[in-house]
């Protein structure tokens, strides 16, 4: 996942629920905003996505990059 953006811009983290397999890796990478539910799926990602402030973009990028199911995306704005 390569994203060009300045550190100060906000981004939005979205999930494709049809891909998510509940590995829970994203939760470990992005504890600031995500929680595990009892099956391992991330809690805290509404349909509209999670707004990610500039200082958390690094953690969000790690979550996107390490998801074994490639279910997460980070979008500008």
């Amino acid at each position: 996942m390569s994203i060009r953006m300045s550190k100060t811009r906000d981004a939005t983290l979205t999930i494709d629920w049809t891909r998510c397999e509940g590995h829970g890796v994203c939760v470990a990478a992005f504890r600031e905003r995500l929680e595990r539910d009892r099956w391992g799926y991330p809690h805290g990602i509404p349909t509209s996505g999670v707004p990610v402030p500039g200082d958390q973009i690094g953690a969000a990028k790690t979550a996107v990059a390490t998801c074994p199911a490639a279910a997460l995306r980070l979008r500008l704005g």
Binding site: D16, W17, T18, C20, E21, R38, W39, Y41, I45, P46
Partner: protein
């Protein structure tokens, strides 16, 4: 067209111990002056020649004129979501539309209105689709149907053969019936020759990334197209189209003045016993104590004013012979089984919710584990229905408690 099943008190599609499921109420009970004008007996299809004698040719409109007519008539998508039709039309402006889809899959077992429209007045529905196709320079119209209603397929096939729209090809697609198969993105997938499962196609204009790549699909519900056909002729509509079932002796489809109250509809459909709960908008809809809703007119906004969903205009009177908790358990289990099986929280969470409902235990995380977590609205709509059911049951069991107290609790 009559139901072969003589059992009248039961829930369409939902099996409960002691109260077996009834079939979809596929019978036209009352033809009104707008949509079913000219239909004098159930099962009679209005042929093109008679249809034109009554309504004349559909005037040729540009897309924006059509949107203006839809706006003037305050048309809202009649499949359930209630999206303003004029906005959907406006979103197609300047885009290439490859296919217009008439969504007649009607996966909701409490609703029969779309099948009855197609069986009786297919040309009115087709006029609406044809008007959109001509306004967007689209050459292909697909009519998506449920394969379990052969009489509907027969009428639509016959009507399609009678059409004289120049340059438009009609195709009729009967597909396997499934609750979630009627969801808009699932229908678009199906037309694009993929399985009928919900997909992330975004809001209209929809772009199915397959065979019809980089072009757009205009999909609407059967009733919406029929009403658009009337609106485009400047006809002012004043009827509601509803389907009744449950504790009623005359279940079926009614086109009645929209000034009628729920109580008047209850008389027409012969509600039996003393039902205390009405379910509005089908299995994804709202449970509401009958005494809170019986004076409400048959209008989407009025119903929403008392906190109930119009949905596809399906109304189920819960039989007083069934404990509401038991009916809710059966309905929730059924909804859990309707999951398309694509999204983890829906697959894992809905059966847990259904189990908690059947145990009548306190429900807390079972809601939040599912709500808002899935590609389509099925899990969220199911949670909303269960919440409203528990609230309605609570209000009936505790009539003296302050009316607002339950709202903030969510669960009991």
């Amino acid at each position: 067209m009559t139901t072969t099943d003589t059992r009248t008190v039961g829930l369409p599609g939902i099996d409960l111990a002691g109260c077996p499921a009834t079939v979809r109420p596929d019978v036209l009970r009352l033809a009104g002056n707008d949509l079913f004008a000219g239909v004098t007996r159930p099962g009679q299809m209005v042929d093109l020649i008679h249809h034109r004698a009554r309504w004349h040719q559909c005037p040729r409109h540009t897309l924006l004129e059509l949107a203006g007519a839809a706006r003037a008539a305050d048309l809202r998508g009649a499949g359930g979501a209630g999206f303003p039709t004029h906005r959907k039309l406006e979103s197609m402006s300047g885009r290439r539309v490859s296919t217009v889809i008439i969504n007649g899959s009607e996966g909701e077992s409490t609703s029969a209105k779309d099948g009855m429209l197609l069986a009786h007045v297919p040309h009115l529905v087709m006029d609406g689709a044809s008007a959109v196709a001509r306004a967007t320079d689209c050459k292909r119209i697909v009519i998506h149907l449920s394969h379990d209603r052969p009489e509907v397929t027969a009428a639509v096939t016959r009507a399609a053969a009678q059409r004289d729209d120049r340059g438009i090809s009609w195709s009729v697609q009967p597909v396997a019936d499934r609750f979630i198969a009627g969801e808009a993105s699932a229908v678009i997938q199906r037309v694009a020759k993929s399985p009928a499962l919900p997909r992330d196609l975004g809001k209209p204009p929809r772009d199915p990334r397959t065979r019809v790549r980089r072009s757009h699909v205009f999909l609407s519900n059967v009733e919406t197209f029929a009403r658009l056909a009337l609106a485009s002729r400047g006809h002012r509509m004043s009827t509601a189209l509803v389907t009744t079932s449950g504790a009623v002796e005359r279940p079926g489809v009614y086109e009645v003045p929209d000034t009628w109250t729920m109580a008047e509809l209850a008389r027409a459909t012969a509600v039996s016993g003393d039902p205390r709960i009405l379910i509005t908008g089908g299995w994804h809809g709202t449970w509401i104590p009958w005494h809170e809703v019986h004076q409400v007119p048959l209008q989407r906004d009025a119903l929403e004013g008392v906190g109930a969903r119009w949905g596809a205009g399906a109304f189920v009177w819960l039989p007083d012979t069934i404990r509401p908790q038991r009916a809710l358990a059966g309905i929730t289990s059924w909804l859990a089984a309707q999951s398309a099986g694509q999204c983890g929280p829906c697959v894992a969470g809905l059966p847990v919710l259904a189990e908690a409902v059947s145990r009548e235990s306190l429900i807390t995380h079972e809601f939040t584990d599912v709500e808002g977590r899935g590609l389509c609205s099925h899990p969220t709509a199911t949670v909303a229905a269960v919440r409203s059911a528990l609230a309605a049951i609570h209000r009936i069991d505790h009539p003296s408690s302050p009316p607002e107290s339950w709202r903030n609790q969510g669960a009991l």
